[in-house]
């Protein structure tokens, strides 16, 4: 069995890991502010993801949803932490996001996007046109879940809600 001493040792190690990872996190946040540093998504796709994520879950843009999704699209599927892993969607997961984001662009028709309105029509299933992409309801569900993860699912997110995190072993990084 794993005793409390082992857990404490593990916690200490993850604390070290967190400290070591801090510069990397700082770089991601800085990259998010600059709008660059994406490995799989294009800058345009990332921007759309950030805008839609923010409209679905306030705070998602600043929490780094575009970098979160981009990072987990850039690792092997077995290491990806995206909600898609639960939903029996076939990798490569980038296809799911790319086709949905491209459809969003077509739906906007080249106009300056009203992301609040787009989020509303996506949620209501009334967005048109919507074809050659994952079902609108599924795309809404997945992007909203991703945004919920980065806004509410981290230690900072719990703190924002006033919920004690109470970890056995705290995560060494947000994601």
């Amino acid at each position: 069995m794993i005793g409390r001493r082992g857990v404490l040792a593990g916690a200490a190690l993850t604390g070290v890991a967190a400290a070591a990872a801090a510069p990397a996190i700082r770089r991601w946040i800085d990259a998010a502010k600059r709008g660059d540093g994406f490995r799989t998504l294009s800058a345009d796709e990332a921007a759309k993801l950030g805008h839609l994520g923010e409209a679905l879950v306030p705070g998602a843009h600043a929490a780094g949803i575009a970098h979160y999704v981009d990072h987990h699209l850039s690792v092997p599927a077995a290491e990806s932490l995206l909600m898609l892993r639960y939903l029996d969607i076939a990798p490569p997961y980038a296809d799911f996001y790319r086709s949905g984001l491209a459809q969003l662009a077509r739906s906007a028709g080249g106009r300056v996007a009203n992301w609040t309105a787009i989020a509303g029509s996506l949620a209501a299933g009334t967005i048109t046109p919507w074809d050659d992409a994952p079902p609108a309801a599924l795309f809404y569900f997945v992007l909203r879940a991703d945004a919920v993860d980065v806004v509410y699912g981290t230690e900072a997110g719990f703190e924002r809600l006033g919920v004690p995190y109470l970890p056995h072993i705290p995560p060494g990084a947000r994601w």
């Binding site: 409390r4 082992g6 857990v7 892993r85 639960y86 056995h168 072993i169």
Partner: protein, 515 residues
């Protein structure tokens, strides 16, 4: 942290495929009995330090192998329910361990429904009792008036949270009975493992060992007796040189396919893995796959149709506290006649995010409305999960596709729909969920969408080789030295969580092998 894969031996007395709940228990029993046992698992070598308290990071513990394609009217939820690596699905399971009811074993002969098991509850009772004593269950057997006969639980019930007390009011008001949920979670120190501290992270894995999992119970016992566990070694087919025996298994290594020879092989690789491997092992001796002379391998896949019921209470329910499984259980709606039944699992802890989290409880909300809801719900939500019985249907099956995976195997496909009685039971359960929440005094109540809980069937056991894949011990009909373990053996699944029953079956299988 994840260990490097250790070399797989060229031969062993027994090779077990899958280091989850059933595989680890059988490894423990057979190694203790003097057999040389090697356990091969497709995924990583997790240890307790990997069980990070995070809904995001816990997704590492879910299936990470080649895509299992799911389809049908009500697809099974493989990605959420299955495991990946040492511990299997039991590494992230919730530890809710009710026993199956006596009637669950004889649905066909009693009610003309489903398929009879080849054994009765009494055949499993001693194994339930043995596993219960070994692993430890907290609960109150007398309070579970629906529970079949068996030894009392070795630990008193877990403490109730404010959330559990709030929801229990609804059951009392409507005259429904509840009992402390039987949980494989320590309410007090048990066999050197500490008591639960109610921080609600069970589904991310419990690194302190208060919640039982294979890494803290059967795997260490197996290793102490000499069994070896090998990660990153996906078995891709079984070796056969005779009609009635298997010779070992072929697995993928970093250097390509390799062979381990064994006198006995145990398949314990989840419902998809077990059926798929039998089908992938087609040869001149077994043209349709091993054990598949009657086209039954892969059939009768089952999952429980489940629903979440929610309420917002005026009081602070502290919903983040407790355990992920349940603190109270209700079986007043369990099958009592020809109609399918269901159970309630009351007051699971619930965190803000993830598939079973607060935000997804109101998946319709977004923007400012979601933020307003979250701020209130994290202190005032109550929730419970209902799961209904579903019958085995031959058309619900695991098959192989024509594409080739990264392991060099054919793709695995799972098609599933629920029978009409299961859908009707689910509707009754859903309607009752809001009624109970209202009766509990919730200011608002609602239910979620249907989801798939637990995976069962695919290599069902039976007395008749023409109608089943294995005998009652899990031995594949017509093959002397090939056994199957896990919930894939279930001919029916009742309306209860399957882990306790699959462990009792595994204990029975191991005892049979050792005789």
């Amino acid at each position: 942290m994840v260990e490097a894969a250790r070399p797989v031996p060229d031969e062993a007395d027994v090779v077990i495929i899958g280091a989850g709940a059933a595989g680890s228990l059988i490894a423990s029993r057979l190694a203790t009995g003097g057999r040389i046992v090697a356990v091969l698992d497709a995924g990583p070598a997790w240890d307790g330090g990997d069980l990070v308290s995070s809904q995001i990071w816990s997704r590492r513990l879910r299936w990470g192998g080649p895509q299992i394609a799911t389809g049908g009217a009500q697809p099974i939820g493989f990605g959420f329910n299955a495991g990946w690596g040492f511990g299997g699905a039991a590494l992230h399971h919730y530890g809710t361990w009710p026993r199956m009811h006596e009637v669950d074993f004889k649905l066909q002969s009693r009610y003309g429904k489903g398929i009879d098991w080849p054994i009765d509850y009494e055949d499993l009772r001693v194994h339930y009792d043995r596993v219960q004593e070994e692993v430890g269950i907290s609960g109150d057997a007398d309070a579970e008036i629906w529970r079949p006969p068996g030894a009392p639980y070795p630990m008193p019930p877990l403490q109730l949270t404010r959330q559990a007390e709030a929801i229990a009011r609804g059951f009392t008001a409507l005259g429904q009975r509840t009992a402390p949920a039987p949980m494989a979670i320590n309410s007090e120190e048990y066999r050197g493992r500490p008591a639960c501290i109610y921080d609600g992270w069970c589904d991310a894995g419990c690194p302190i060992g208060a919640l039982a999992n294979p890494l803290i119970v059967h795997k260490p016992d197996a290793e102490a007796a000499g069994a070896t566990f090998h990660s990153d070694a996906p078995v891709v087919r079984l070796l056969t040189s005779h009609q009635s025996r298997v010779d070992g298994a072929v697995y993928m290594s970093a250097d390509g396919p390799r062979t381990i020879r064994a006198r006995l092989v145990v398949l314990a690789a989840s419902i998809a893995g077990n059926a798929s491997l039998l089908l992938q092992s087609a040869s001149d001796h077994h043209p349709g796959g091993i054990g598949n002379a009657h086209d039954l391998v892969g059939r009768y896949v089952m999952t429980h149709p489940a629903v979440g019921a929610f309420g917002l209470f005026d009081e602070d329910t502290q919903p983040h506290m407790g355990v992920t499984g349940a603190l109270l259980i209700g079986h007043d709606n369990y099958r009592q006649g020809v109609e399918a039944g269901f159970q309630w699992l009351i007051a699971p802890s619930i965190k803000p995010n993830d598939l079973a989290g607060i935000a997804i409880a109101r998946a319709d909300l977004h923007g400012a409305a979601l933020e307003t809801f979250m701020q209130r719900a994290v202190r005032h939500i109550g929730n419970m999960v209902g799961m209904a019985e579903a019958l085995p249907l031959a058309e619900n099956r695991i098959t192989l596709g024509s594409d080739v995976t990264s392991w060099g195997t054919r793709t695995t496909l799972v098609t599933h729909r629920h029978d009409g009685a299961a859908l009707a039971a689910w509707q009754r359960m859903r309607d009752q969920g809001t009624t109970l929440m209202d009766a509990a005094g919730a200011a608002e109540s609602w239910t979620g969408q249907m989801f798939s809980a637990h995976l069962m069937g695919g290599t069902i056991m039976g007395s008749n080789p023409d109608k089943s894949v294995t005998d009652s011990y899990g031995r594949v009909h017509g093959i002397d030295n090939l056994y199957v373990a896990g919930a894939s053996l279930f001919p029916t699944g009742g309306a209860v969580n399957p882990t306790f029953t699959l462990l009792a079956l595994a204990d029975r299988t191991a005892e049979h092998i050792m005789i």
